[in-house]
């Protein structure tokens, strides 16, 4: 889909991030200047405290990673960051285009990236004057395409694989012993 932006003297682009933190709740925030509602869900405005790393627009699906940086977090809140299971949390990033003069959406936010939080890191910035510090959280997100490329599924003919799906099934239990077994078929007893 293409949009004619030639009539606008300036545009804003904003990213809207949704993270479903396991055993916690769904976090929604954006780098837009004000709270914004998409599909009935409100996205908190972090403004410049949130940034999304460079992405490459490709026609084909690719396994590129994405980084989301949240800065300005007080060091007292770090414990809560570490307490939740950020790794493995599903991430969805939408991108919208806005008129820079009016703040009205030119293009409603649409899907940009779907994946999982693959890793995260904490960077502390200490202010010697105020004697306090703030922390940046950098979330590294793996694309769902990349995850599918490394995903291993299916069964092999061994008891370990079989019991992974069907713990009580004994059908494959003899395969390891059979792999080098000989039978004297028709030999006199």
């Amino acid at each position: 889909m293409s949009y004619n932006l030639s009539g606008y003297s300036a545009i804003w682009t904003a990213f809207f991030v949704q993270i479903n933190v396991q055993d916690y709740q769904i976090l929604r925030f954006s780098n837009f200047y004000k709270p914004y509602t998409i599909a009935g869900q409100s996205y908190a405005s972090l403004g410049s405290l949130m940034s999304v790393g460079d992405t490459v627009s490709e026609l084909r699906l690719s396994d590129q990673e994405l980084t989301i940086t949240l800065s300005g977090i007080l060091s007292s809140n770090i414990n809560s960051v570490l307490s939740y299971k950020m790794k493995g949390s599903p991430v969805m990033v939408r991108r919208g285009l806005f008129n820079a003069n009016t703040g009205v959406a030119i293009v409603e936010p649409i899907g940009k990236f779907i994946g999982l939080v693959n890793n995260f890191s904490l960077n502390e910035e200490y202010n010697v004057v105020d004697k306090n510090s703030s922390v940046s959280v950098v979330l590294t997100c793996a694309s769902i395409v990349g995850l599918l490329q490394t995903k291993v599924a299916g069964r092999r003919t061994n008891p370990t694989d079989e019991k992974l799906y069907y713990p009580n099934d004994l059908s494959m239990d003899r395969v390891p012993n059979l792999s080098s077994a000989n039978f004297n078929f028709g030999a006199p007893t």
Binding site: I114, I144, L148, K151, A153, G154, R155, R156, T157, N158, Y165, Y166, N168, D169, L170, S171, M172, R174, V175, P176, L178, S179, S180, A181, N182, F183, N184, F185, G186, A187, P188, T189
Partner: protein, 263 residues
Amino acid sequence: MSWFDDLVDTGKSLIGGAVDFFTGNSLGSNIAKTALLGLTVNRVNNSIQKNNTPTPNTAPAVDPGVRLQSDANTQNKIPVLYGNATMGGIQTDAVLTDDQTTMYFVYTFAEKTGTLLSTSAASTYVFNDVFFNDNRVIFQNDGITAAYMIDREGNQDVSIANLVQIYCYAGSSTSPQVPEYYTNASLSPAYSIMPGWTSAHTMDNLLFAIVKMTYNKDKNVNRVPTLKFSITNSMSLPGDCIYDYMTNARYGCDIPATDILTV
């Protein structure tokens, strides 16, 4: 002189002539003497050999059987079958009976697929044909016991009749079925066929077959055969197959169905 005296005189003259021939020194008599000597030596030699030949053992030779090796392997991957395919199967069990005359093999073919998106019906399977050493097997009325084979030229071979039985299962040990065009209302679960199996041998969501072979050297039923099974899955439409593979957690991508727009 009677006719009898004439006959005696003629005999004397013939014998006398023959004696004169052999006692003579002509070229012909020498060749004849050499040939006669050779014949005599040959007869004597044969007579000696005949006397020295041991008496043949009249007991039949004991068949030592055949040493078979299982090709089961823990690294074999169970494939997924959509539509129709002819496949050999992966050996996952083998048992030789105590009298060593009957072998049972379990061949696993494929994962059982899920529900069709288009009809919401479960996948169903048909065993179209079974090929034994590249020959199509024709079963007896029970759909299990082999009656004969047909090769590519249409020739019939009855050598496997009553010696090979093939039990097909589509989904689990308790899902027996017979090949296409056969009916049998009294099929048994796999654990009733396979020696040593119990109801805990469930073979969940697997297509497989048990092959029972009775040893017969004269009819060449003494080797692990090359078996091929032609199987059709009711899941064959591209949309059904892609959706199944994308969403299945066991052998597919395990993508949540809510993430897939199916309209």
